[in-house]
Amino acid sequence: MTWKNVRLVFLREVRDQLRDRRTLFMIAILPLLLYPALGIGMLQMTMLFSEQPRTVVILGADSLPEPELIKGEHFAERWFSSPQIADKLIVITDRAADASAQETAGDAAGPSNADSASMSAKLLSSARSLREKYLHLQQLEQFELAELMQKHHLDPNRKDDAAAKQTISHFAVSDEIRQTRQEFSLLFAESQIQVLILVPEGFKRQIQSINRGLADGSLQIEKTPQPLRPIVLQNSADEKSSIAYHRVQDVMLTWERELLADRLSQAGLPATLHTPVNVQTVDLAQEDQIAANLWSKLFPALMIIMAVTGAFYPAIDLGAGEKERGTMETLLISPATRTEIVLGKFFTVFVFSVSTALLNLCCLGLTGKYMVSMTGGGAFSQIGDVALPSGSSIVWLLILLIPLATLFSALCLALATFARSSKEGQYYLTPLLMVSVGMTMFCLSPAVEIKPFYSIMPVMGIALLLKGLLLDPTSAELTWYALPVLFTSFAYGLLALWWAIEQFNSEEVLFREAERFELGLWLKHLLRDKEATPSFSEAGFCFVLIMMLQFGAFKFLGDAFQHATAETRDVLMLRMLIIQQLVIIGSPAAFMGLILTKSFRQTFRVNIPNPWMIGAAVVLPFALNPLAIELSARLNWFFPPLPEGAKEALGAMSAASTPMWLALLAFAVTPALCEEIAFRGFILSGFNRTGRTGLAIALSSLTFGLMHMIPQQVFNAMLLGLVLGLLTVRSGSILPAMIFHFLFNGLEVVKSRYGEAIASSPSSALFVTSAEKGLRYTGLTLFLSGLIATLILKRLLFTASANSVADAFADDVAGKTPDLMTPSVTQ
C-alpha cells in the first residue's frame, strides 16, 4: 500500500464531491441557511401566535368575598404573576349587575354585542344545568354511601372505617350513579365551558363572620359550622380545560393568600403567621453555567446526527453511486489496491462528516446566541446573554468528533458499498439514523452520566463524555474517561473500516446485479440448493431469530412468574429456564439445521472426538472457573449493577427449596445441550463457511455473548465462547464443548450450594476462602489453574483443526478443490 495512491484517490474524490451541487448544498449551504431560517420562522411564529382565550363561568359570584376577584370580564390583573395572562381567561358570572348590564347592552348595541350577550346567557344556562346535575349526583352518592355503610355495619364517625368508606365508594357504584356521572361529564364537554366555579350561597357571609369573630375574639372554633367550599369543575383529559384550570388555580391561590392576610390583619395578627418556616432559596447558577447546560444538551445530539448525515451522502455517492455509474470497475482495474481505494474514499467521507458537523454546530451556536440576545424577555430572560462554550470545551469537542466521524464514515462507506444502487443505499440511512438518535436520546436524559461501562459503548461514550465536558471542561474525572472513550471509539472505527475494506474485496458485493427478488423463488432456492453446512447469512439469521424469540418470551415468562407464589417461585424459575433453553435456543437451531442443510451430522459436528480433546474438555472448566470468577469479581465495578430478575435467577440456583437435580438440569444440562447446538453447532458452522476459522470463532462467541443480555454475562460468555469455539473446531466434534459447558455451569451450581461447607472445611483453606459474595479462590488456586489452563489452551491453539468431513465438503462446495488450486501456488 502506498500513501501516494491513497492521496490521489482522496484528492480526486474531494474535488469530485466539491463539484457536485447536491453534496455542496447538503453539507455547506443547508446549515448556513437552515438555522437562520429556523430562527426567522420561530420569531414569526412567536409574533403571530396568540392563544385563544378560555371561558370560565362562575355561578354564585355575588357570594364571593372581598377583595374583588373579578374585574369586568376577566379576573383582576393583580392575581396573575404577569398581567398579560389575565386576557387569556374570559370570566362569565351570574352577578345581578352584570346580567342587567348585558341585557341593556344587548338591546342597545349592534348584533355583535347581542351575540356575545346571548352567548353568555347560553353558557350561564348550561352552567346552571351542570350545577343541578352535580347536586343531584352528590345526593345520589351520599344516599348510596349511607346505604352501603349500613349494610357493612360501618360507623361514618369512626376513624378506622374511613378507609373502608373510601373503598366502598370507589368500587360499589350503582348503575344509576355511573350513568349520571357519564351524563354529567358529557354535559360538561358539550357546554363549551372550560372551568366552572360553583360558589355556595352564604360563602361571603361565612368568611366575614369568621373574620369578625377572630378580630373581636368571639370566635368559638367548636361552634363554627362545617366551612363552605367553592367547587371547581374541570376536565384534566381536555387540554383546553386543563390549561384554563391551572391558571384559575394560580389565581385562586393568590386570592386566598390575600384573603388570609386580610383576616390576619383584621385580627391584629402578624402576616407571617401562616408561614412559620418560610424558606428562602438561593440559586447559585451562573450565567455561563446556564448556557453550558443548554449547549451540553444541544451539541452532542447535533454533532452525532450531523456526523452521520455528513458522512452518509458522500458515502453513497462514492460507493453505490460509483457502482451505478460504472466507474467502479474502471477504478478497480487500476493498479491501486483495494485498501488504497477504500482509504482514499474513507478520508473523503471523513472530511465531509467532520466539516458538516462543525459547520452545523457553528451555525447553531451563533444563531442560538443571536436569537437569545434578541428575545431578551420571556422564558430566556434568566439566561441573559448566552456565552458560547469555552475554548477548552471546543477543543474537547474537536477531539471527540474525530473518532465519531471515523466510525460513521467507515460504517457509511461499508453500507454504501454493499448497496446495489444509490436508491438502495438511501434506505440504509433511516435505520442508521434511528439507532444513533436513539442512543443520543438515551444520553440526553439528565440522570445518565458517564460510567466505566458506558465509556466503552460506541457513540454513547462520546455523547456522554461530551455532555459532561461541556458542563465542566476542567473536571479531572472526566478527563480520565477520555482515555477509554477515545481508545474504544477508535477501535470501533477501525473495525468498521476493516469491514468496508472487506466489502471492497468481495466480488459478490462489488458485482451484485440488481436482480429481481421474488420471495417464492428465494424460498425455493433455500430448499433446493441446500449444502452440507449452513451459509453465513443463515447462521446470522439463526442468531437474530433466537434474539427475537427471547424478546418475545420476556412478557410471557414475566407474566407466568408474576402469578407464582413465593414458595413455588424458585422451582418455577428453573422450569422456565429449561423451557426457554429448549424452545428459544435449542429448537430453532436444530430445526434450521434439519431444513436448511443437507447434513445434520456435519452441521452439528456429531462426531466422536479424539480422547485427549475429551480430556481437555474435562480439565479446562476446573482450571478456568477460578480464573473466570476472579476476573468478573475484579471487573465488577466496571459493569452496571445486576437487574433484579437476574439476581432472583441466581438466588434460585442456590435456594434450598429447589432440588439439586432440577438446578443442575436448568443451569448445566440444558444450556450445555441447547446453547451448544445453536452456537457451536449451527452458527459456528455457518460462520466457518467464510473459510476463516478465527473470525468464525470470534463471531460465534460474540453472538453467544450478546444472547446473554446482561453486560457481565455478555462479557463472561464471550470469553468462554472463544474457548468453546476453539474446542469445537479443533476436535471436529460438538461433544467436548458440551462437556466443558456442563462442567463449568455445574461447578457454579455445586459451589453456590455447598460453597460454605467447602470453605469451612480445614483442608480446603489452602484453595478457597469464603468471601461476602460467596466463594473466592486463593492465590495458589489461581496460579495453578492459570498454569494448567495456559498449557491446555496453548496446545489447543497449536494443533491443527480436525479436518472433519464437514470442512472438507465445505471446501469443495466453495470451489477450492485442491487439484485446481495447486498449480497457481506452484507457479
Binding site: 455509474r325 470497475e329 466480488e507 459478490e508 458485482f511 432456492h525 497457481s824 507457479q827
Partner: protein
C-alpha cells in the same frame, strides 16, 4: 503473453442455483496478435475478461499475463494491462484531461513523463478539442475516445477490450476498431471480445468461439473456414452452437 489454462468460474444464482460461467477455458495470446473472443450474450466472455483484469477471482484453473498470475499477483497484472469495456465508465464531474491524467498518476507515471505522454495520446486520438469537457457533457463517441486514452495511458503491453463497440454508431465503432488495429501494429498483445461476426472477420488474427462457458473452437479465421467447410462466419457460428446443443441434449438423456 496471455496464457489461460482450465479457467473455471462458478457463481451462485438465485434462479438456477450454482452456475458454471466458465468451464475449463484454455487459450494463449501472443504479442502483436489480436485474439477474438466470439460468443453470444451470457456466454462467459465478460467473466473471462474480468478474471484476466483481476476484478474477479477464478474458481479454478490459472491465468498468466506477462508471466504474472492473476490470482496470486493481481497488482502486477493490473500494471501491465489496459482494460476497457462497456462497463468501464467515466467520471461525470471530471474533464477528459483530468481523467486520463488521474489514471496516469495511479499507474505511477512520473510527472515529467506524464504530461508529454498525455499530449501525445490526445494528439493521436484527436481529442484536443474535448480536453476540458466534463464527462457528463460528452457524447458516446467522445467518451469512448477518453476510455481508450485511459486504457493506453501507461503504454501497457497487454490490452483487453470487452465489447468496446457495443452501443456505438458505425462511425465511432469504425474509429475504435481502427485504433485497435494501430495498437496491434505497435506490437501489443490484444484480446478482444464481441458478438459481432464482421468485426472478428475484419480484425482478429485468431478467434475462439465461446458458448455457455466452453470454448467450442479456437483457430484463425481461415483455419476455421477450412476446418468446417463453411466460408460464412455467421453460418459457422450457428453450426457450432447447434452442434454443441445437440451434444448437451444427448448428454442429458
Amino acid at each position: 503473453m496471455i496464457h489461460v489454462e482450465n479457467l473455471t468460474k462458478r457463481f451462485a444464482d438465485l434462479r438456477q442455483g450454482s452456475v458454471l460461467a466458465l468451464d475449463h477455458v484454455s487459450f494463449d495470446v501472443r504479442p502483436g496478435e489480436i485474439f477474438g473472443l466470439l460468443g453470444p450474450n451470457g456466454a462467459g466472455k465478460t467473466t473471462c475478461l474480468r478474471i484476466l483484469s483481476t476484478v474477479l477471482k477464478p474458481t479454478g484453473g490459472k491465468a498468466l499475463i506477462a508471466g504474472y498470475n492473476v490470482a496470486a499477483d493481481p497488482a502486477k497484472v493490473r500494471s501491465v494491462i489496459g482494460f476497457m469495456s462497456a462497463n468501464t465508465g467515466l467520471y461525470d464531474r471530471m474533464t477528459a484531461w483530468e481523467m486520463v491524467e488521474y489514471f496516469g498518476r495511479l499507474y505511477g507515471l512520473p510527472e515529467d513523463k506524464l504530461q508529454p505522454r498525455l499530449e501525445e495520446i490526445f494528439q493521436m486520438l484527436q481529442m484536443n478539442e474535448i480536453r476540458d469537457v466534463l464527462g457528463g457533457k460528452m457524447s458516446t463517441g467522445m467518451k469512448q475516445k477518453v476510455s481508450i486514452a485511459r486504457t493506453i495511458v501507461h503504454d501497457p503491453p497487454v490490452l483487453i477490450f470487452d465489447e468496446p463497440t457495443s452501443g456505438l454508431d458505425v462511425l465511432v465503432a469504425r474509429a475504435v476498431l481502427k485504433t485497435i488495429h494501430t495498437l496491434r501494429d505497435q506490437g501489443k498483445c490484444i484480446i478482444f471480445s464481441t458478438h459481432i461476426m464482421r468485426e472478428v472477420e475484419k480484425l482478429c488474427d485468431r478467434v475462439a468461439i465461446i458458448y455457455k462457458g466452453r470454448i467450442l473452437a479456437n483457430a484463425s479465421v481461415n483455419e476455421l473456414e477450412q476446418l468446417y467447410h463453411e466460408p460464412d462466419m455467421e453460418e459457422l457460428f450457428f453450426e457450432l452452437i447447434s452442434r454443441h446443443e445437440a451434444q448437451l441434449a444427448a448428454e442429458r438423456v
